[in-house]
């Protein structure tokens, strides 16, 4: 399996007036050719920061990626790339789909032109051929009347169509990886299903790898090969999709799965909830970040942060109750 992306010890800090928010506190993950990785978590867990970091979209003075972090794309160190290389990377080698298609599209440019821009920049095409290729791409993302719509402006598109246009834009440069940051959150349920179907089809046709950032477990379950669960800036569980949903190991993953009503749930029965709320990301967190909300909290959970424990083929989770002794944990 060709390794496209390798990230080690990613740490991202945002500087705010209330203090330094440590959005990502040491994340390790990788992405191979042709696979879809879903990074799942609730708001504030750091998943968007992870997505932005991969493309080095986090810049001073607002935020910074710590020096000890390592991000390698096809063996090249992203953090050491010069301006020219980074520009080539963004859009050309890694494409990104943003959450809100309303604000991610230039309202004063025609859709076709926006897609063509990417083509001209990354594939060196001239304007006319770029535009007709843009129309082609709109057809591929199943927009009706693609020739006509390419000459229209974003406000003339519906939400779902805009998202398809965004997908077309992201795919235009022929990237090896597409990062989709909550691509369906702002959309209706049936349109969500269609967009996810479109992304799966895209992956099948072009072999592009995908990194799917979402808070919706159902979306992850439907499209991802592997799933990583994030909480308070760390990855707390990694597994292949079926394994994660069938055999969740980390208490947070279990709680997350139990929060949503299953198909057979009794009407108006109380849902399982987690007490409390996510921890403050300013300053260091002592011990496991989930400890105070965890049903199986042990004394060591409050002291030391657990390291990842291997549970089987590609399945890891960071939890003290999964190992017999206390050796092997990291210091906070």
């Amino acid at each position: 399996m060709e390794r496209l992306l390798e990230v080690r010890n990613l740490k991202v800090t945002y500087h705010t007036r209330a203090g330094d928010v440590q959005a990502v506190r040491g994340a390790d993950f990788h992405l191979d050719r042709g696979e879809t990785l879903a990074v799942v978590g609730e708001s504030g867990c750091g998943k968007t920061a992870v997505a932005k970091a991969v493309m080095r979209l986090i810049e001073k003075p607002r935020g910074e990626i710590e020096e000890t972090s390592m991000i390698f794309f096809e063996g090249r160190n992203v953090l050491e790339m010069d301006k020219k290389e980074i520009r080539k990377l963004r859009g050309g080698e890694i494409g990104m789909i943003f959450q809100d298609p309303m604000t991610s599209l230039n309202p004063t440019m025609r859709i076709g032109d926006q897609i063509a821009e990417s083509l001209m920049l990354h594939c060196g095409m001239k304007r006319k051929p770029a535009f007709s290729r843009a129309c082609e791409l709109l057809k591929q993302v199943r927009i009706n009347d693609w020739e006509l719509m390419a000459k229209r402006y974003p406000h003339e598109f519906s939400g779902g169509m805009r998202q398809r246009a965004m997908i077309a834009m992201a795919a235009a440069g022929g990237p090896r990886i597409i990062i989709a940051d909550e691509p369906t959150t702002a959309l209706d349920l049936t349109i969500q299903a269609e967009i996810m179907g479109l992304l799966r089809e895209l992956k099948k046709n072009t072999g592009t790898s995908m990194m799917l950032i979402t808070h919706d477990l159902a979306i992850a379950a439907g499209s991802a090969d592997r799933v990583h669960i994030m909480y308070a800036g760390r990855i707390v569980e990694k597994a292949e999709t079926k394994e994660l949903f069938g055999n969740p190991a980390h208490p947070y993953t279990e709680a997350l799965l139990n929060s949503a009503p299953g198909p057979g749930s009794e009407s108006k029965s109380r849902l399982a909830t987690m007490a409390g709320s996510p921890p403050d990301l300013i300053g260091t967190i002592r011990g496991c970040a989930f400890a105070k909300r965890c049903g199986s909290c042990m004394p060591i959970c409050l002291e030391k942060n657990p390291g990842m424990v291997k549970l089987g083929a590609g399945h890891e989770a960071a939890c003290w109750k999964l190992i017999g002794d206390t050796a092997g944990g990291e210091a906070p």
Partner: protein
Amino acid sequence: MSVNGHENLIEVRNLKKSFRLGRKSLLVAVDDVSLSIKKGETYALVGESGSGKTTLGRLMLGIYPADSGEVLVGGSNVCVSGKKERLEFTRKAQMIFQDSYASMNPRMNVGDIVAEGIDIHGIHCGQERTGRINELLGLVGMGGEFKVRFPHELSGGQRQRVGIARALAVEPEFIVCDEPISSLDVSVQAQIINLLIDLQKKKGLTYLFISHDITMARHVSDSMGVMYMGRILETGVSSDVCRRPLHPYTRALLSAAMLSGTETGFEAQAGKGRGAGCRFAGRCGCAKAECLLTAPELREIEKGHYAACHIL
């Protein structure tokens, strides 16, 4: 909709509402909708954006005047009430909003926000008022110390709780919950849902639960109606509607929710002008010629389970 021994608190009959867009076009938001809700029960109104569910909720509270039809709450018609009756009515029926941040005046503190209903109707003042605020905050699981906070200092879940406390302040019988959990994290959603369920049991409240999340809607409701472009396409007991969906649109919603992603084909544009046929025909996988010509009526297909579709 037949009444089954239990009294109907809410009855909606042939409600219609259109909005004028610019000079020419008319957007029919609610198109001849009828439903009823029994006292102490929850009716879930499920649909996507543009379905008219939010407008219907607001019509039922009298926030917008309806074009035609009636809304009966406890027997009296909301649509034709005078000013005094409208004021009285606001004590009977309240609303919880989706965007908890925008639904609060950023310049008012939590205490004043919660007590707004009390202040408007002059129910309590002074010490009594403070005591009542504390009591209401306690009901939604928040401490009295939150009184001095401002909306921007609270988390989404806390804001939503404050919104619920505000609605409860006037001791209503009926609460319209307009997408109360869509903007919240999954774990917080569960907390708010539990809160709503508990409050219903404790206070005998009747809910209209508006949502696009059909799974959650099924979980919290007794009956359900599926709306599409201003019309109810299917309605019945929630578990019936979800386990044996009759209408193709309901089936599409359910499978989208269950993540197998049926594709309904090329996306149709949300219509402003209407043809005479079934609203869903343009996106339906099973459309016949008849579907494009006449709009189907809601018929009882199984006991207590209605659907508007020519194919059934």
